[in-house]
């Protein structure tokens, strides 16, 4: 089917603090599909964009982390609902960006949506599964609860542009942290669409900040940033991950090391992506009259 109508092309921007700014640097870079066809000019985030994103994530943290687990679960489920409405668009973008067949792209999108649903169901189970009442040898009520680490920087997987992205982002949100994500450098389009989903769902501004650009460039700034509590190095360039980890040590960040090769994102993730960015708080109180 052809049309005489000239398409309206989208400008691909960053997603910071609930808004869609261009990079303060004014930079963009060209993104192609796997066949090398031009897809879009995408904003290339700078260190200052990363800085702004951290500020936004920090500002969003108190409210997000103290919202009820039930509420967070609903917000995450809402993301899945809104994604479902863009199913076709995601399939097209994943297929083009990752060079997948339509059916494989569809499977990836389905899994990504389902992953939100899965994590949505976790929010109000974590305290029961990871918390404890501790039978101390004395007249004290003593309990431990999981709490979010704070602001988590995520270097998203480079290959799996949507399922991989959701698989590293959703657990950060489910556990109550806020996120600054550097998306896949070469496959950022689904991430931008996800930003649009997040902006039109119930996720408060600043809770997720998506920076299109290069993890190799932004990684060190996030790893060193003193107001970042944890960093997921999954999408870090193999040659740079160790350096980023060393930089993260400067403020004792919680670090998720990159896997040797990008994992099969369809596998059951278990708790392994939630616990690294959870703290355990233990509270003691006397039991007396």
């Amino acid at each position: 089917m052809s049309s005489d109508r000239l398409a309206v092309r989208k400008t691909y921007k960053l997603y910071v603090n609930g808004a869609f700014p261009r990079s303060e640097s004014g930079r963009t870079y060209e993104v192609t599909d796997t066949k090398g066809h031009f897809q879009a000019n995408v904003a290339r985030a700078s260190r200052k964009d990363a800085r702004d994103a951290v500020v936004a994530a920090r500002a969003a943290f108190p409210k997000w982390s103290t919202s009820t687990a039930y509420n967070r679960g609903q917000v995450l489920y809402r993301v899945a609902e809104v994604m479902e409405g863009r199913h076709v668009q995601f399939c097209d973008e994943v297929a083009a960006g990752e060079g997948l067949s339509a059916s494989k792209a569809r499977a990836a999108v389905d899994a990504a949506i389902d992953r939100w649903v899965w994590y949505a169901g976790w929010t109000d189970k974590l305290a029961a599964v990871l918390g404890s009442a501790n039978p101390v040898a004395g007249p004290y009520f003593d309990f431990s609860l999981p709490e979010p680490s704070g602001v988590v920087a995520v270097l998203a997987p480079q290959q799996s542009s949507l399922l991989g992205l959701v698989s590293v982002l959703a657990p950060v949100l489910a556990t109550g942290s806020t996120a600054v994500v550097v998306t896949s450098r070469d496959r950022p389009i689904p991430a931008v669409t996800l930003a649009e989903v997040l902006a039109t769902s119930d996720v408060p501004g600043g809770v997720v900040n998506l920076l299109t650009g290069d993890a190799a460039e932004l990684g060190p700034w996030l790893a060193e940033h003193a107001d970042v509590d944890g960093i997921d190095l999954t999408g870090a360039p193999a040659t740079r991950a160790m350096e980023f980890e060393r930089e993260a040590a400067g403020t004792i960040k919680r670090v998720v090391r990159p896997p040797a090769t990008e994992p099969d994102w369809t596998a059951d993730p278990g708790l392994s992506r939630m616990t690294p960015f959870l703290e355990t708080k233990t509270v003691w109180h006397p039991i007396g009259l």
Binding site: T66, V129, L130, S132, N134, P135, V136, A137, G138, Y140, D142, S144, S149, D229, A241, M242, E243, E245, R246, A248, A249, G250, T251, I252, R254, R257, G270, L271, S272, T275, L278, E279, T280, K281, T282, V283, W284, H285, P286
Partner: protein
């Protein structure tokens, strides 16, 4: 006037040899590094000379641990590992007095604390973890939790035996073997513990003790065949350890510094709060990472609390650590004393008011009187830097929000205290504090069932409870 006559605990129960070696592969062997002396900080008397482990010695210890992991401890039936740990726990109880006296001699802490807290808690840690050894699949840490292998552990001088127990008990219970480096100034109870391992017939190589200073610690941490590093100590060293394990597959647990806020609301049980303030900062001479070193007191009761606190501090008994009535013992080392003095002088120079009780300190040894700084601003270094000594900084607040803001205004996040008679307020404040352990209407309580560890730059990973096991298992989800 009721004077308490000296009531010294007898030293005769301990038998300190003129020199000590390392404990590697079940044997006491000489280290090839340069020997060092360990002194009684209360008298500056040299207690004995201890071998320092060189990198080659550490390598031997790691190889012994690896062998034990592969040949004996790893393959052993979990129920038998459990029984070994029970044995160790019992031996610690049987030899409790000996451990307590030796700890007080080497560390300077009052015998009342080593006898009633350090040693019983160390035994309790072994008892608790002994029970886990054959129940790990029920710990909620995945269906197939497996040991990591060899754990390299470096511990501080403030609770030498207790920190050893916090490290060794969970590591062994989960099926790992260990190479542990005690602190340079307090190696003796770790070496006595080695003897306990022999008495328990623990297979050689399961526990290896390598004494020495920072170099030895580095050799342990950086050894290629170590699978797990656990460190308790300063944030500065913690950072360098985190850097050194970067890019490896070693798992890391860090328990680092702190600058805990102890928040006293106007509806607090004042007498108990004053006790809690004293416990919080003067327990173990303030050589406590979770010490309540920042008193945040509501402005409306500031004068009353400070007056009560000063009166109470006046009744503290400072002196011979072996005297059963001593409340505050010696500062652990000349180096630490210098740091406490330096930070206290800075506190005064910055404009805070120093208060110390009329005080008669022994002439020899390392001593520092209990000290309270009032009029401290959050900008002062004594409100920010960890002093690790008996020095309390007093700040005030007007509203709960201000209390929380000030309490959280630190790069640390290990512990905090809340004093109030209002339950809902306690829970709200506890929720808002960014700290791993929150003591409400109590302070400085520890238990093997209770996870301990920090937020932010106080470290990561937990020790104690089910959570503590996760740090020594793979396939563990948490």
């Amino acid at each position: 006037m009721f004077e308490y006559a000296p009531a010294p605990e007898s030293r005769s129960i301990v038998d300190i040899a003129p020199s000590y070696g390392l404990f590697v592969d079940g044997e006491f062997v000489d280290g090839t590094g340069e020997s060092f002396k360990t002194v009684n900080p209360a008298t500056e008397e040299v207690l004995t000379e201890v071998s320092a482990a060189s990198a080659a010695d550490v390598d031997r210890a790691v190889r012994a641990a690896r062998r034990a992991f592969e040949k004996t401890w790893g393959p052993m039936r979990p129920a038998d590992r459990s029984k070994y740990l029970f044995r160790i726990a019992r031996l610690l109880q049987e030899r409790a007095r000996e451990f307590a006296v030796l700890e007080s001699l080497d560390n300077g802490k009052p015998i009342r604390e080593s006898r009633d807290i350090d040693v019983p808690l160390a035994a309790a840690h072994f008892f608790y973890h002994a029970g886990w050894a054959d129940k790990l699949e029920h710990a909620g840490l995945g269906s197939n939790p497996r040991p990591l292998g060899v754990a390299g552990q470096v511990i501080p001088w403030n609770f030498p035996l207790l920190m050893l127990a916090w490290k060794v008990a969970p590591a062994l219970a989960t099926g790992n073997t260990v190479v542990l480096k005690p602190a340079e100034t307090t190696p003796l109870t770790a070496l006595l513990f080695a003897e306990v391992c022999r008495q328990a017939d623990l297979p050689p190589g399961v526990v290896n003790i390598v004494t020495g200073a920072g170099e030895t610690g580095r050799a342990v941490v950086e050894h290629d065949d170590v699978d797990k590093v656990a460190f308790t100590g300063s944030t500065e060293v913690g950072r360098s350890i985190a850097r050194s394990v970067a890019g490896t597959v070693k798992l890391l647990t860090l328990e680092l510094g702190g600058k805990a806020a102890n928040i006293v609301f106007d509806d607090a049980p004042i007498d108990q709060a004053v006790e809690g303030i004293v416990q919080g900062i003067f327990f173990n001479q303030g050589h406590v990472c979770c010490a309540g070193s920042r008193l945040l007191v509501q402005e409306s009761i500031h004068d009353e609390v400070i007056a009560s606190l000063q009166r109470r501090i006046g009744t503290l008994r400072v002196g011979d650590p072996l005297d059963k009535n001593t409340d505050i013992g010696a500062i652990n080392s000349a180096e630490q004393l210098a740091r406490i003095r330096e930070l206290s002088d800075i506190g005064e120079a910055e404009g805070a008011q120093r208060w110390q009780p009329a005080c008669d300190l022994p002439e020899r040894g390392y001593w520092f009187p209990p000290t309270v700084f009032t009029g401290v601003s959050p900008a002062h270094r004594i409100a920010r830097d960890e002093v690790f000594g008996p020095v309390l900084s007093v700040l005030t607040f007007r509203t709960p929000d201000e209390a929380v803001a000030k309490a959280n205004n630190t790069t640390y996040g290990l512990s905090a205290g809340i004093w109030s008679e209002k339950g809902s307020r306690i829970l709200k404040i506890a929720d808002q504090l960014r700290a791993g352990v929150v003591w409400a209407n109590t302070f400085n309580k520890f238990d093997p069932t209770s996870p301990f560890g920090g937020y932010k730059q106080s470290g990561y990973g937990r020790e104690g409870g089910r959570h503590g096991l996760a740090a020594y298992l793979k396939g563990a989800d948490q």
